[in-house]
Symmetry: C2
Subunit: 321 residues, 2 copies
């Protein structure tokens, strides 16, 4: 059933409304082969994120995809309770999904990631759309992990635009700055999908109505969740619409969306206690020279896309692409 | 001779090619009343900066303006030797100016600033175009200084664009991050003129040729200095031209150039030892809502200008505006 050239994926998420959209996108995309999903505390606790993920998989009839519950606390400090004002108390905008029959596997998310990397040496693609705690723990479990993994795509950071939870920090990175610093410093190829693109490619009410109008259970559930999400983002944009963080990282990971300006540059995560804590410090000083790649840099920072994202997202979820 | 409505100015500078242009601009502008100039280590040492400033004043026949030599070292650490690759070994692109007769006053720059603020209570405008060491020292000398000063204009920082000496830090701020943190936290009205505008309003070879063609001693000297400056900036822009940092701050201080987008927002200077050291962390998260002012914020961050700067700069120096 799976496309033989599909990308073998480990997804790490904190589900979350936009995480739910990413899951919906990946389940619908022919080039995604979800081998396993780990949860992490972020938008919601790791435990709630795992439940939401299992329920979404059940809604799509894909309970065959294993889900592992991951880290509850960041590497330093404690989980602060998530973002119910953005994602709702249950993390998915108050939408009630039918409870899944499947349960989480006994392994931790970090253990699942290491196992999948060993089972798929050189081909596994890691897609992280929550705080990077599980990835950092996996690097501790197996320091050889970067050599086993083909690529890491991360939704996170802010390069030349403001942050979303501090003036310079984006939530996924800031929620576990120590983990992010370790993951961004590891020796693997990373594509970073920051607020520079996820805040610019806005999902509008017309797109939400397209999801709701299709009469498909997953699309309807996602459209309903977005009603809650729009309520938060109206305070940012001044109209009912939203950013679209996690699905964009998913689309870039599987090649559904192609970045336009995306230089390979040095990136350092600020893990100090100062005003820059949680910032992805990206060296973009080459901007007047067409953003040349920096020698030795292994992180691509996506600054612009080659096309609009929201029509592609809707089309993929509805099976029209 | 001075315009009675001119802005009474204390200028703090590290002269420097673009500082020289700022001095040339202010001497030519009818709304600037330079009461005193203090030097600080930055582009060059404070001592060399004072000499360059005195020589420029002599070239303009304005040795009546007092110059005070300021801090050699930043508040923490030591002066690292300046930027001869940008400004030349003598700080003014190797141009030989006739030595001034005048000498520096006996006071320090910080003492001069405090004296001028007390002599002009409520009206003095402080224009700082170098590291903020002298301003921080003046705040220590007289904690009441903010109540005496009308306004502070600072060339420094980077808000939504990369830095120029680290990926996120601009040189004036980073060269004395502790001083900048103190000055930006003090209780006075500040206009911050960051790289967001100074790197965008490029001074081109045609503008330099206009300075050289006028046959005026000051304009000729400045045009020659710019030949050296262009040599450095060619590596940034890919053509012979330059940013125009300090004169733009001078023009905004005296009203010669009016900012367009310039919200009053909270600004914190990163004085940690982390990768964000020297960054001006500006809270610009209101960007999708037209950059509203933040309640209580006293720092305006200039993000765009209402007009092109270089023609105004050339016209003012040549006495044509």
């Amino acid at each position: 059933m799976t496309n033989p050239t599909a990308v073998p994926l480990y997804l790490d998420c904190d589900t979350g409304i936009d995480d739910a959209l990413a899951v919906g996108y990946l389940l619908a995309h022919p080039d995604a082969n979800l081998l396993g999903i780990g949860s992490v505390s972020g938008n919601v606790s790791a435990a709630v994120g795992a439940v939401n993920t299992l329920d979404l998989l059940a809604l799509a009839g894909r309970e065959d995809i294993p889900v592992a519950s991951g880290a509850h606390h960041p590497l330093a400090g404690e989980f602060a309770g998530g973002a119910p004002h953005v994602h709702g108390a249950n993390g998915i905008g108050g939408v009630d999904l039918a409870p899944a029959q499947a349960e989480t596997t006994g392994e931790t998310a970090a253990e699942m990631l290491v196992r999948l990397a060993r089972e798929n040496p050189g081909t596994l693609h890691v897609l992280a759309i929550g705080p990077l705690t599980n990835l950092a723990l996996a690097l501790r479990l197996d320091p050889n992990l970067p050599a086993l993994v083909d690529h890491v795509t991360i939704m996170g950071g802010a390069a030349m635009v403001p942050g979303n939870i501090t003036p310079v920090a984006e939530a996924n990175i800031a929620n576990d700055a120590e983990a992010a610093a370790a993951v961004l410093a590891a020796d693997w190829d990373i594509t970073l999908v920051p607020l520079d693109v996820t805040m610019e490619h806005v999902f509008e009410e017309e797109h939400r109505q397209q999801l709701l109008a299709a009469g498909q259970p997953m699309a309807t559930a996602l459209g309903e969740m977005l009603g809650y999400y729009f309520g938060f983002y109206e305070s940012q944009y001044g109209r009912p619409c939203s950013a679209m963080h996690d699905p964009l990282a998913a689309a870039i990971a599987v090649g559904g969306i192609v970045p336009a300006i995306a230089p390979r540059v040095n990136v350092q995560v600020d893990a100090t206690a100062g005003p820059g804590r949680g910032q992805t410090v990206c060296d973009l000083r080459g901007r007047f020279r067409g953003f040349p790649d920096q020698p030795g840099a292994r992180t691509r920072v996506v600054l612009t896309l080659a096309e609009e994202f929201s029509p592609h997202l809707v089309g993929t979820i509805l099976g029209a692409n």
